[in-house]
Amino acid sequence: MSAGGGLWRDALRRLAGNRAALASAAVLALMCTAAAVGPLLLDYRQEQIDWDHMAVAPLAVEGHWFGTDRLGRDLLVRTLHGLRVSMSIALLATLVSLVLGVSWGAVAGYLRGRTDALMMRVVDVLYALPQVFFVIILTVVLGRSPATLLAAISAFGWLTMARIVRGQALALREREFVDAAIVGGAGSARIVARHIVPNLLGPVIVFATLTVPQVILVESFLSFLGIGIQEPLASLGNLIADGAAEMETAPWMLAVPAGCLVLLVFCFNFLGDSLRDALDPRDH
């Protein structure tokens, strides 16, 4: 356990030395907080229409800092709500992928043999499917609700995680501490849960950090096309679609949610890469 603590302490120290990574983390924390509490602090509600100020530019009117859309809805509030929806789906889908992928991969890698071959065959088959297109089929068939979207994205999100974890588990099970646990009388379930899984947290965390922006992009992509999150609910994707439709006369409607999305994805990607470097300094 002390070695594990050392690894994490070292990783944290390396991460703390990386100013750009810290900045990304700070921006992400800020955006999360804004999405969580921001809508409560602002004067306008998501669907509230300000009849006197339709499609006003940012900073043109007191109170509408980021302007309003064609219906007079405050763009800042809607963007924060969209951020909230997009982030919730991304975090939940990542969590589902994490739990499914880690348990699937760890069990397959630990048990080896025929069970492993069968379990990974399932992963291989699903992996060969063009995922975005099957997510589209699922949203067509199950209807376009946030829950469907979450389920459809999670259905494919866990595959890579399972592969990564299985590889790690295969290597870990050969280590002495697993022998020691077996000698100590621990059963397979206990060994997987207490010895294998904690030791593969490093790559799992890195991959999870990199999964979040992927999910955000898929969700926004579908919402942009109109087959994801539906009005009146806002998501970054459908806000960008609205903005694209109005860009000729109200370019800020495109710029605000698009900037928000790009910043979000960029920060997550950057943080994920930095985490990987911090946990595995051998490459550098």
Binding site: P130, I137, L142, L225, I227, I240, A244, M247, V262
Partner: protein, 333 residues
């Protein structure tokens, strides 16, 4: 003499001998056979998902009188047992018949595919070609200028290009070049008017350019450190020759292996690009089908897209195996 030997090395790299051709044929056969079960799974899953889900294609409009509904269902064969429906569907697929569209009553899905596929293929192929033409030189340039300004600039641009999704790039480019500058049409499609294709192709290509530039830079830097490069330099070969004939072929291997994911990215991106720029391609039909809950249309489009992706992946893998014999010798993965 040294000059010709440099060329011969490069040539032997690209033109395999007799034994290589034989082992290559075995590999091709194995890979093509391996792709068939995947296709079968895709067709089966797509069929099962659409048929087993609660709700049918005629649920959405206002409730239909039961007789009309029954008529509709029997017209589309939906009253038959599932196995019969599946048999009919697969039988149709083998003859290139994807069934009728539920919502575009005047068209079959096959007609929609036939009208959309060429458009999608043209912009997709043009985007990949553009990406290769821009991305690889940019990567080489960045590698040669390692850690200098040009390198930093190219890599920063690449990170931006990777982080900005297609559905943000597309409206942005349309706004700047279409609306503000009036250089190019914002949307539309007239056969024989290539200016319509510029924005869609550039939009699709940009993320691939960014990724290819990063990839080429990385592998180029690695290859340039290799001993045979030092040897080639020590022989006094001109710099461009070392670069193009000794370093580049090896450095391009990772690029080749990225061609599969590239195809996937371009095909997925074409949904957005065709929707935004109003191109009558497959992507727009798929999105329309998804919005209308047109089951047969969505299924048909997904099957075509999936087949395209598998085929392009296969081609990329085959090119890779042709260039790298180690891959061919690997019996089975």
């Amino acid at each position: 003499m040294y000059h010709t030997s440099g060329f011969a090395e490069a040539a032997s790299f690209f033109v395999p001998g007799y034994a290589a051709v034989v082992s290559m044929l075995g590999y091709v056969a194995r890979r093509i056979l391996g792709a068939i079960p995947t296709l079968a799974v895709i067709v089966t899953l797509a069929f099962l998902m659409t048929r087993l889900a609660p709700g049918g294609p005629f649920d959405e409009e206002q409730a239909l009188p039961p007789e009309i509904r029954a008529n509709l269902e029997s017209a589309y064969g939906l009253d038959q047992p599932m196995t019969v429906q599946f048999g009919r569907y697969v039988g149709g697929l083998l003859h290139g018949d994807f069934g009728p569209s539920f919502k575009f009553r005047d068209f079959t899905v096959s007609e929609l595919i036939a009208s959309g596929l060429p458009v999608s293929l043209i912009i997709g192929a043009a985007a990949v070609a553009l990406a290769l033409l821009l991305g690889i030189p940019a990567g080489i340039w960045a590698a040669l200028a390692q850690d200098r300004l040009a390198d930093r600039a190219v890599m920063t641009l690449a990170v931006v290009g990777i982080s900005v999704p297609v559905f943000v790039v597309a409206p942005f480019l349309a706004l700047v070049f279409g609306i503000y500058l009036h250089w190019l049409p914002v949307a539309g499609w007239a056969p024989g008017r290539p200016s319509d294709l510029v924005l869609p192709v550039v939009t699709l290509a940009l993320p691939v350019v960014a990724y290819l530039a990063r990839l080429t830079r990385g592998s180029m830097l690695e290859v340039l450190r290799a001993p045979w490069i030092r040897a080639a330099r020590a022989r006094g070969l001109p710099r461009y020759r070392v670069l193009l004939w000794h370093a580049l072929p090896g450095a391009l291997l990772p690029v080749v292996s990225y061609l599969g994911p590239t195809a996937a990215a371009v095909l997925t991106g074409s949904l957005v690009v065709e929707t935004i720029f109003g191109l009558p391609g497959m992507g727009r039909h798929l999105v329309q089908g998804a919005l209308n809950r047109d089951y047969t249309l969505v299924m048909g489009m997904v099957i075509v897209y999936a087949t395209l992706m598998i085929a392009l992946n296969l081609i990329a893998d085959l090119v890779y195996a042709w260039l790298d014999p180690r891959i061919r010798q690997e019996r089975r993965r």
